[in-house]
């Protein structure tokens, strides 16, 4: 890995102290971000399992319900469908808030008011029509839960990606750069010290010779 030393900094003890502080902070941030990353991945893997099973269920049942409705539609006139849908009208009310997962604000939706599932059967409508509506009524809670979990998973995935980039940037860029800057300052300071020592020795030598 190539590291880039900041050569335009002044190689002083003060600067080395400052760089040492920066290194300490960067290492602490790296550790904290790694902990955050681990926890987020753990949470994500729990949620994604649930997401997958809910989606499979919703896809299966919803396709079935919609196919039944489309089939029933062919046996009825548009006016009859509209009238039957109005008869079935079902109210739903949600509370929408947000919750915090490792500093990430994700949605939290819950049903406040849902009419109990009534297996309403109208005499004028085909069986498939009533069956599709009953199936959809049963799916309402699951669809809302799926929406909640899928959005949370999507937001978590984005955040995990961002955190991983930050960790990599610290691990492979910032920390090595600071370390090489400290090394550069240390070498310069040592060199200066050696130069001064040699200069003093030379002066002493010259003084001894003149005596």
């Amino acid at each position: 890995m190539m590291t880039q030393t900041t050569t335009n900094i002044s190689p002083t003890r003060m600067e080395r102290l400052r760089q040492n502080d920066r290194l300490k902070t960067a290492k602490r941030a790296h550790k904290l971000l790694e902990d955050k990353y681990d926890e987020m991945v753990h949470k994500f893997s729990e949620l994604i399992k649930k997401n997958r099973s809910l989606r499979e269920l919703v896809e299966k049942k919803l396709t079935q319900a919609l196919q039944l409705f489309v089939a029933a539609n062919t046996q009825m006139t548009t006016a009859a469908v509209d009238a039957a849908l109005a008869m079935h009208h079902h109210a739903i009310s949600l509370t929408c808030s947000t919750q915090n997962i490792m500093g990430l604000t994700v949605p939290h939706v819950s049903i406040v008011d849902l009419d109990p599932v009534k297996n309403t059967i109208l005499l004028t409508t085909p069986d498939k029509f009533d069956e599709s509506i009953n199936l959809l009524q049963q799916l309402t809670t699951i669809i809302i839960e799926l929406a909640n979990i899928e959005k949370t998973c999507s937001m978590l995935a984005d955040e995990i990606q961002k955190v991983r980039r930050r960790i990599n940037s610290l691990e492979y860029n910032l920390i090595p750069n600071i370390q090489s800057t400290i090394k550069f300052i240390t070498m310069k300071l040592d060199e200066n010290q050696r130069e001064t020592q040699i200069r003093v020795m030379k002066i002493k030598d010259m003084q001894n010779k003149t005596k």
Binding site: V41, F44, S45, I48, K49, N51, R52, R55, V58, E59, L62, T63, A65, L66, Q67, F69, V70, N73, V81, L85, H88, H89, H90, A91, I92, S93, L94, C96, T98, T105, V106, P107, V109, S132, I133, L136, Q137, T140, I143, I144, L146, A147, N148, E150, K151, C153, S154, M155, L156, A157, D158, I160, Q161, R164
Partner: protein, 109 residues
Amino acid sequence: MNNFSKDIAVIGEQAIVKVFSAIGYDCFYDTEPDAVIARCQALETAGYKIILILEKTAAQISRYLDSRASLAYPIILPIPDTTTHSNYGMQRLNQNMEKAMGIKIGGNL
């Protein structure tokens, strides 16, 4: 439609999504990608929290869906339709998994 619940909306072909009105969702019959995007923006402004879109249409406006990914609300959820089996919802789920884990895992986690 007069009594909008302002909670859940469904966008898609009339023949398919009309049934959702029976369970309290507000239905909008747009199918063209531009019209669907405009409808989504209008619904977002109106304060809808969950918007269901048929997978066929959702696949065509994936760039718009990506642009809304960082917002908590509205939750835009692709749902399957009866005619095509694009599996767009599952594809997005796998994309999320790839994004989070860094690798594509084909099967279950």
